[in-house]
């Protein structure tokens, strides 16, 4: 059971890592002018909800399997994703808004955020991997 939970988390985590990398690549494409703001934002906005779901899934899995430490580690990130999604002003076209992204250093802050998430997911990945192996051995 334990092993199953971690295998699932591991898969989820891999997906989130890919997503973070995708965000970074797309944002840096925008930074280098390879794509325009509108295309970039519509690509990214599509993945905001899946990312949120993926993160929440991992958090919930940890909660139900009573891994408090990992749960608390995941919680802030999940909360941040939710907050970010819910706080989008009515007139904006999503978390990434093509008319705003070049203003007030938003592009940079999005980039930084994605980097931090990538780091976080990598950390989680190893935690899950370790826990999974541990669980398999214990079985």
């Amino acid at each position: 059971m334990e092993a199953a939970v971690f295998i699932l988390s591991l898969v989820d985590c891999c997906a989130l890592i890919f997503l973070a990398v995708y965000f970074i690549i797309t944002l840096s494409d925008l930074e280098c002018d390879y794509i325009n703001a509108r295309a970039c934002c519509s690509k990214l906005n599509r993945w905001v909800v899946p990312e949120m779901v993926g993160q929440s899934l991992a958090t919930v899995l940890m909660l139900v399997s009573l891994h408090w430490f990992v749960f608390l580690l995941n919680l802030p990130v999940a909360a941040w994703n939710m907050y970010r999604y819910l706080m989008v002003p009515m007139g904006n076209m999503g978390v990434f808004d093509p008319t705003e992204i070049h203003n007030r250093g938003q592009l940079k802050s999005h980039m930084k955020e994605s980097m931090i998430k990538l780091g976080f997911h990598l950390l989680c990945f190893f935690i899950y991997l370790y826990s999974m192996i541990l669980a398999l051995i214990n079985d």
Partner: protein
Amino acid sequence: MSSTGFNSQNGAGGQPYANGPSQNPVALHPSGPGYNMAHQPPYNPTQVKGPMPPGPGLYNSGPYQPVPLVGSYQAPPGQPMLHRPSMGPPQPMTPPQSASPGPGLRMPPAQATPPPPVSANSYYQHPPSWQYGAPPPIGAPPSMAVPQHGPVANHVTSSPSPAPPQLSVGYNAAPPAIHNTMQPLGPPATLQGYTQPGSAPPMNSMVAPQSYQPGHIQTPGNGAPFPNSLDHLETGHTMTGPAPPPGPPARHMGQSYPALPPGYQNTSAPPNASPMHHPMQTPSQPYSHAPQQYQQTSAGPAQLSPSLAGLSLQSQTPEALRVVNLLQERNLLPPGPISPPTPCLPQDLQKINCHPEVFRSTLTSIPQTQSLLNKAKLPLGLLLHPFKDLTQLPVVTSSTIVRCRSCRTYINPFVSFLDQRRWKCNLCYRVNDVPEEFMYNPVSRSYGEPHKRPEVQNATIEFIAPSEYMLRPPQPAVYLFVLDVSHNAVETGYLDVVCQSLLENINSLPGDSRTKIGFITFDSTIHFYNLQEGLSQPQMLIVSDIEDIFLPTPDSLLVNLDECTEMVQDLLKSLPHMFGKTMETQSALGPALQAAFKLLSPTGGRVSVFQTQLPNLGVGSLKSREDPNQRASAKDIQHLSPATDFYKKLALDCSGQQVAVDLFLLSSQYCDLASLGCISRYSAGSVYYYPSYHQQHNPAQVECFQKDLKRYLTRKIGFEAVMRIRCTKGLSIHTFHGNFFVRSTDLLSLPNVNPDAGFAVQMSIEENLVDMQVVSFQAALLYTSSKGERRIRVHTLCLPVVNSLSDIFAGADVQAITGLLASMAVDRSVTASLSDARDAMTNASIDSLTSYRTSVLTIQQPGLLAPACLRLFPLYILALLKQKAFRTGTSTKLDDRVFAMCQLKYQPLAYVMLMIHPALYRVDDLTDEGALNISERTIPQPRVQQLSVEKLSREGAFLMDAGSVIYLWIGRNCNPNFLTQVLGVPSYPAVPQNMTMLPELDTAESQRTRAFIGWLREQRPFFPILHVVRDESPLKASFMQNMIEDRTESALSYYEFLLHIQQQVSK
């Protein structure tokens, strides 16, 4: 096609659609004369040329420290960029320059013979010589149509010798109606087809220095506040106006005309003034004054000693850094318009630098590092007015446009030539080859002088773009009018005005033989008009399926204007009556916009939407969000951001298809401009708002609407435009303000560009600018003119880099800073909250003054100290806090507020400043003393008064110029002479309540007043309405609200505000 618009980006020639020259129908912009004519003074406050840094001679005696001696400037090692070939253009023939910075010999006997260079100079400092070959025959008829419509004659290239007179007439003679940009229309004849009406290199040298003249003359003007303020101190705050600075003769030396644009300087100068004499004398004045004043003060009352100490200790500092104690000096406003500071650049560079009206930086000295900038606490940014109507603009036709190979910068006056065949880019420092073609100089017709090409001589230049700059053939001018015909709309009666204006101006719409036009009207359904040739009358097609809008006959809804003029006229004549009895109250604006988008998407073009109520049907319908009880609330204002993203999305779609949407909102109720405005904001349109518009009840608004429409219909327009702003490596743009869509990091997509749009960007310093003496900024606007030519207008600005805080403060441009802060505050109020924005503005002034106090001032003194260049900063901030956009506590309709915010963001700085801080003049005692003479009209120049009720007197009449509206306030005991001679009424009670124009009386007073008001109006492209206000008028409140130095129930007075700042600063 849909996505192509966006993708194309960048790269080299890669600006997507390229453009053509916009055609400016020359005679078309009568309302914007201020910009166009040589003789008209450009818009005042900001336009005036900044005072030049004193020439080398002055430096020695004078305080200006920051720049190394100019004389030696060329030589210093380590500044390759500055090192210009010695034969550089500006100097030839000006040996006396070293002694007298400017004009020297060539001051032409002023008025008598306005030689072209003189009169035309008012705008550009360094008019391109080739434009003026020979002085135009003076008597030549200033036919304004010449440059535009006489293609052959105009085409400069082909016939250099005959052409000059014509061209120069067009530009120089400058009758008020003349249009600015001179564009040779003819097809580019040869490769080198370079506009070259004249080929008189000598003129060149004459011209350049000449234009400088104003700067020098002005210097004394700048110095003027000095004596005043000090006098004032001594007399201990008497409220009398400042004693007029040195008597009349001194005034004539220039003090009284600090604001005169160059054009006038000449006229006002005594004819035949000894040329050497004049320039030398004037500049020296301010400095000679200064010492005197210092002495005087030292003899003054003891209480002054602290500030005195400051003065004497700082006496080596430039005027801009002179310490001013804001709490003690009350009269800080200069008597006339405020001129922007001049960057401390070597003279030859400054001379060719971009004009501040077009391109202006908040800090004319760029800090070396971001940390230094942070320390100064001043915003760094650029304000642009790239498509401004110009009095003269060099146009180059060339098969290859020389650009840097790595950063694609256009060659400009600030590049350095390493040798004959190589030049070094001033933005990325790459060394490029000079193409063979560029070696030939069409101006002098000589070979091997690439640095004398016009591209290298002019900071503002326009290129006719070759086909690489087009992704598709240049689009025709396409105009679509979308008119609200619901009951509410018919009630206001606006349709008559629109149709009438269109009928009158149908032939002056900018365009060529391909111009297309179309109409859509809507209420709860969408009505299209088939105007196909061959029909006996226009055919109305009604589409009632607004959920899924389609075009009934896609081919015949947009018709060629030339071919179907009659049909269009028929429609315009019948349209106002067609809906006379409509009972339909709903408005399906969203679907109508979608229809307009579908109709225009194959070509691109301009949509003009007229809307009179809240859209309440179909997509994009909105609900009223305003709670009238909250209008005056001091709490946070809600609903400043859009309610839906429909309009934004549609605007981005439009932008991708090169469609711009201009919104005219005529309404008495809440229309949710915050949401509707998005359609224009992101498609680079403009927004016009006429609150409580009604045909009968509000004639003043009707007149204003008529005039605006006329200007709107006939002004120059550029289609499918993009603008790229480049800056020297190390600097980057982090925020953009204005109406456009930012397509990539430095590229703005502007489906339409119009001459009344301003832009602002905030910059940050990403890499330290060490080892750099100067940095450059280049704005390149690629557009298709209404004549179907692709054109590129390039502006380049060069600024010095400094590494000390005091130099940064010395170069601060308080108006530009205020303008940029206003834009930033608008953003802040939308993203955060209004109170946040207000706090941020107050903090901006507190922080910068604190930083000045702690880091620049060597001696701490009591009082609120500011450098002279920032002395108006707290005043402007207070004015912003009391501005419609940001005020709290005073009842303000949400739409009014949002509209004010839009204006702050997209209007050029000059108009924004008037909105923020209106100019107040006393007009009951206008005299001809110090008046301007423009084309035989005498325009009195009253002094600008402080905006405080204590300046108003019951015996007087005061004129307040608030940009889009002018108030004439009549005191209760107003001079009866003024009432009878100007207003044409026997007594005060007889002044009508709603007087909006002055009777044309044949009296000297009336003529003076009307000349003055007319002159103010001419300086801007829109038409400010005049309201005569007396005590009982309902408008008295709005007049009084502009008295920003006074206390209101909810806001501080100026003095209290200063005390508040002082408290914070000295914490």
